[in-house]
Amino acid sequence: MKKPFELHADYQPESFEFTKAYQKKIKDVIALYPPGRQQSAVMPLLDLAQRQVGEEGAKATPVYGGWIPRAAMDHIAEILDMPAVKVYEVATFYSMYNLAPVGKHLVQICTTTPCWLNGSDGVVKTCKDKLGIQMNETTEDGQFTIMEVECLGACVNAPMVQINDDYYEDLTPETMAELIDILGQDMKPTVGSQKGRACSMAASGPTVMLEGAKKAKVV
């Protein structure tokens, strides 16, 4: 479950503006929708706001991850000419939007049945022990937040976690610990299966559709 929104928290900024670079992106996104239907751009705009805040947070001390302040939601409502409450509704409905600050690396651990059967408990324990925090908490240095999520659709490679935009699959307590180490040093670990298999094919390599696998350059 995501962190609850707090209206009067002192971290809520007074105002929010998109940077030049983001303003360009916004224009492009809005242009995708027919005239009079700009409100449909509310979801991409919320995402862009979260990313912009995330970029700023990566450079701040202490660091923090992307989240959407109330001022940003109001600003988006203004841009799209819709009631602010409609933006709040969308933002609170989807779990991908963070409405309170999170760590620079938001670790979303899947604990739904397939992942759980394959040892997500161990992954959770490693995270908690190694980072010294509980679910929905953030490390003091602002680097990590861990949270529990429902199935993220990568059950074939269970157990898995999502960290910011990337999936890390086929985890063990050991590989999870490694991931945390690498990320903690601001390096980028290999995305995807941590057992070295490509996509979700058998670990020993493709067994069917061999031609196709070659064409797709996965072997």
Binding site: P83, A84, V85, Y88, T92
Partner: protein, 690 residues
């Protein structure tokens, strides 16, 4: 037109009709929570499930499924019953079992439908969820744990009230209704959310824990807080009005009323005049008296006064019968000086089309261009404003305003603020002038305040001329409307409660009280001007009314009369539609209905009026004014253009209603209305304190 069978009954319906509506047409009721026939259809409660074939073998939400040719619908099959039971069980999982302490008890959709469709016990043993209550201001009480997330209130706030601040946040078990940022819902219509909430999540704060619905005596009557003439039901217990609810009238208020009409009732039992009072001439102190004593004082005072030195003013809340008797009374004394336009309006009483809403209220929703002149419809006729909003929302109507800018719930073009700007607009060929001329059903709404100024007559002439020029008045369509804001006004003008030939109107009467040419003054509920300052101190003043307000403060003799909930009376609304208000309770103490006071006093003064009962009064009245007999009918009105040489001044149109919650004596006595001022008009309270 699709033809279908519902429970073996064949029915043909308009294309686009939902199954639920079609069933309703043939008298089959389908249970529902989220569906409301004046709101959009979200289909989120699933209570209205029915079996439809052909189609997938699962129940379908009948509120959102349009009728199709050859459909076979079952609303009472086993599958449907099972499905409804299931939905009911789901809804009750998280619903508290607090009906005994819930104000909605006895008139709760959930309670009723649980009896009809629910299980008799729960199979659910986990904890129920709890939701934090929300603060929605002094009128609406929330118990959000009872909410079933039907989103009716959310849709009402957005679609009808035009204040989209409510929403449904989070999802799944966390889902809750609120404003997210702790806002009040700043609308004059918030009480209606209490009505449409199908459970006890939103209830009336002033009525909280006061009564049970089944112990109340219900009286159908008419509201008098503005000139719209909303149909209401007054629920009373003993002599006390416990609450006021709207009553359906498609052509006037649909099923809504504004918060002032609904919540000011506590003012009916405060600051009441419940016995006659006489002011001691030497000390200036008011003391209680009997009717006989009061009449005797009036008689002795009038003995030395000539008829031409007597004047009368009628206020905003009085009925036509009261004014009729008052007028007869004044005539009997030989007075020609009377006026019901106590707001200072110069409106011409001779042309009915010039002081009513010619298009009617309902037709406004068909308008495609609307010009507002010197009016804030939101405050001066809230239920007219909802029609304008509907026209904007559903018709894409364009709105423009000449007058002081105000916060309306829809977009408008502000084309100017003075009569000169209106003159300019009338001459223009492009812009909004063109929009009006090209419109199919153009509407012009002039506030009564627009004529309440020294050059009022010239402004009226200008408005009529502009209406002609802008083609608002056509052969087959008259879109010219004057929105009065006092319930008594149209009736008063109809029966000619205005200066008779050579008589004096408001301004001259008031001046007369100071220069000595008016020696005696009768006020009938006239509280909307500062009587203490405006009436000369030598003038003997009698106040007939129900509240100790501005008029009573100035009076030398007070005669207590009944309020609108305490006597039968006729009111003509802003569209010129006569409607009957009925007594719901008895007047307090010694108070009597207004007309009977004038009848009794006239006898004491030796000029007895010719009727002894209200029925006789009405009989005589309709002889002179036959249209008053046609209850709930709106006849055609004559129309005229005045040719006026007088010039209009450049002064901006001033809005007559600044504070929506304190427009009359009843509101000013109401604690609830004062709380509303604090919550919704905070800035103005500061001003008033200064």
């Amino acid at each position: 037109m699709p033809k279908l069978t519902i429970n073996d009954i064949e029915v043909e319906v308009e294309p686009g009709t939902s199954i639920l509506q079609a069933a309703e047409q043939i008298g089959i009721e389908i249970p529902r929570f989220c569906y409301h026939d004046r709101l959009s259809v979200p289909a989120n409660c699933r209570m209205c499930l029915v079996e439809v074939s052909p189609g997938p073998p699962k129940p379908a939400a009948s509120c959102a499924m349009a009728c199709g040719e050859g459909m076979v619908v079952k609303t009472d099959s086993d599958m449907v019953k099972q499905a409804r039971k299931g939905v009911m069980e789901m809804l009750l999982i998280n619903h508290p079992l607090d009906c005994p302490i819930c104000d909605q008890g006895g008139e709760c959709d959930l309670q009723d439908q649980a009896v009809a469709y629910g299980y008799d016990r729960s199979r659910y043993h986990e904890n129920k969820r709890a939701v934090k209550d929300k603060e929605l201001g002094p009128l609406v009480n929330t118990v959000m744990t009872r909410c079933i997330n039907c989103t009716r209130c959310v849709r009402f706030a957005e679609e009808i009230a035009g204040t989209p601040v409510l929403g449904q946040f989070n999802r799944g078990e966390e889902a809750e209704i609120g404003t997210f940022i702790d806002q009040v819902v700043d609308t004059e219509l918030s009480g209606n959310m209490v009505d449409i909430c199908p459970v006890g999540a939103l209830t009336s704060k002033p009525y909280q824990f006061k009564a049970r619905s089944w112990e109340l005596r219900k009286t159908d009557t008419i509201d008098v807080h503005d000139a719209v003439g909303c149909n209401i039901r007054v629920d009373a217990r003993g002599r006390e009005v416990m609450r006021v609810l709207p009553r359906l009238h498609e052509e006037i208020n649909e099923e809504w009323i504004n918060d002032r009409s609904r919540f000011s009732y506590d003012g009916l039992s405060k600051a009441r005049l419940d016995r006659p009072y006489i002011r001691d001439e030497k000390t200036g102190v008011m003391s209680e008296s009997s009717w006989d004593e009061a009449f005797a004082v009036i008689k002795s005072k009038l003995a030395k006064v000539k008829g031409s030195e007597i004047a009368g003013l009628a206020g905003d809340l009085v009925s036509v019968e009261e004014m009729y008797a008052f007028k007869d009374f004044l005539h009997g004394l030989g007075s020609k000086d009377m006026d019901c336009r106590t707001d200072g309006s110069m409106i011409d009483p001779r042309v009915r089309g010039g002081y009513v809403m010619n298009s009617g209220i309902e037709a406004i929703e068909e308008a495609d261009a609307i010009l507002l002149v010197g009016v804030n419809p939101r405050y001066e006729g809230t239920l007219v404003d909802t029609r304008i909003r509907k026209a904007v929302r559903e018709n894409g109507a364009k709105v423009a305003l000449v007058g002081e800018a105000c916060d309306l719930t829809y977009r408008y073009e502000h084309v100017g603020d003075s009569p000169a700007d209106l003159e300019k607009l009338a001459k223009a060929r492009s812009g909004f002038a063109k929009i009006l001329k090209d419109a199919k059903k153009p509407v012009m709404i002039v506030g009564s305040g627009a004529y309440a100024r020294a050059d009022g007559a010239a402004v009226q002439a200008l408005c009529h001329a502009a209406a002609e020029k802008l083609k608002v008045v056509r052969k087959d369509w008259n879109g010219f409307n004057v929105l009065q804001n006092a319930a008594s006004r149209v009736g008063g003008l109809d029966i000619g409660f205005v200066p008779a030939k050579e008589g004096r109107g408001l301004a001259h009467i008031l001046a007369g009280t100071k220069d000595g040419s008016v020696k005696a003054m009768f006020l009938l509920g006239a509280d909307e001007f500062n009587a203490r300052a405006e009436i000369g101190w030598k003038c003997f003043t009698v106040y007939v009314g129900h509240h100790g307000d501005h008029g009573a403060e100035r009076a030398d003799v007070i005669l207590p009369s009944a309020a609108y909930t305490e006597q039968d009376g006729l009111y003509v609304n802003a569209e010129g539609r006569p409607q009957l208000a009925r007594a719901a309770v008895t007047p307090p103490g010694e108070a009597r209905s207004g007309w009977s006071i004038f009848r009794a006093l006239s006898a004491v003064l030796g000029k007895a009026l010719s009727y002894d009962t209200l029925a006789q009064l009405r009989e005589e009245m309709v002889k002179h004014y036959p249209h008053l007999e046609l209850i709930d009918e709106r006849g055609a009105n004559e129309w005229a253009v005045f040719d006026s040489k007088a010039k209009v001044s450049g002064d901006v149109f001033a809005l007559p209603v600044r504070n929506f919650y304190l427009t009359n004596a009843i509101c000013r006595a109401s604690d609830t209305m004062r709380k509303c001022v604090g919550a919704f008009h905070a800035s103005e309270v500061l001003e008033a304190a200064e």
